[in-house]
Subunit: 196 residues, 2 copies
DNA sequence: TATAAAAACGATCATACGTTCGTATTCTGG
DNA sequence: CCAGAATACGAACGTATGATCGTTTTTATA
């Protein structure tokens, strides 16, 4: 046999990305072989190479897509919101929502950084730093306007991000806590920690 | 050649554990081959099997040792401290200190859980839960005594732990922030978030 | 000091890996 | 409707992997 009826490049690549996210999330990049991946998509291993350059490039594309989307989304979400407190609240709600909805991407984007070769890793780290800066900016503005009392802005930003991102490892959308409650709890925790 | 002069089981196993922590921390469990490991220790690959059962068992031992030590240490540290606020402060300081000093173990203990087979993972998760319970207990006591105002104890505990554990990924002991400052910042963040 | 246990070597096993390639089939633009 | 591009197959490549084994040398015990 050879080319399958109905096959289309775009659809297959999307399926590869989807299966890649699933498998890497479950087992880790190193533990996922291209044979696993191909089987999940319904292809022979060699056929993957009609759509990806290398396994490494696949990982980079997955993480890069995620980071770009994350940045665009946060900017869209914060756009038009002026006051630091409102911006902080919006940031928290956005971050939690996004991280709930894209568990796989977020997890891979942080835990598989070390599987990227240095050049690729550098690009991703730059994007991540840009995202962190969004929060730092909010904290800085709030401090300048004497709304927040913060000992050290970068450290506090890291701490807050770690706290908010942590939900990825335990939050179950079907569990006891609904999304709104989750956001409320975290908003209160962060605000109390930060407000003057 | 065969048995090397001066070789001793205890020392070699310790060297294997040490090299294992280093390599797994740097590259991830799946990416570390027994050949890498053996080379780092200065052995032939086959010789590892005089000291470990399997690669999987090595990982389990590393994580298990870490979790047991963590639990013993936290209990020793909190022993004798009565009041919830003091206990919470002690917990925060302990957790941060321990996580700074044992970056590798902590990182491996959370990021390589998925590389454990189900039986081993279950044991580790139970130990981790026991550790989380230490914090939950503190929060509960504090809430009962009307010292803390907490919306949801488990969620808050996870959030706090995520925040405190996050330092592993960025804190550099030789960097701008010294340990005491780090502890102060985090203590303030947590306490404000939790106090009535 | 004799002897068994411990520890290391080096060769080797079967398997799995990422990737390449020639070929066959299907899709698509002119 | 036909030609060339796109897509997939299936076999194969060289390499790396976790693990085993027989052998040899060192250490420790009695």
């Amino acid at each position: 046999m050879s080319r399958t009826a109905g096959s289309s490049g775009k659809k297959t690549l999307a399926a590869i990305h989807e299966a890649g996210l699933d498998l890497i999330h479950e087992r880790g990049f190193e533990a996922v072989s291209l044979r696993h991946l191909a089987a999940r998509v319904g292809l022979q291993p060699g056929s993957l190479y009609n759509h990806i350059e290398t396994k490494q490039d696949l990982l980079f594309d997955l993480i890069h897509n995620h980071m770009v989307t994350l940045l665009q989304s946060v900017d869209a979400e914060l756009d038009g919101i002026e006051y630091p407190l409102a911006r902080l609240k919006a940031f928290i709600a956005f971050h939690l929502t996004y991280h709930i909805e894209r568990k796989r991407e977020v997890f891979i984007g942080s835990s598989e950084l070390r599987s990227l070769d240095p050049k690729n890793r550098k690009k991703i780290v730059a994007l991540r730093r840009a995202y962190e800066e969004r929060l730092c900016d909010i904290l800085k503005r709030g401090t300048e306007k004497r709304l927040f009392k913060i000992d050290d802005i970068p450290v506090s930003a890291y701490a807050i991000l770690a706290m908010l991102t942590g939900i990825c490892t335990w939050y179950d959308a079907k569990g006891r806590i609904d999304r709104k409650t989750l956001i409320d709890i975290h908003t209160r925790l962060v605000l109390q920690g930060v407000l003057k």
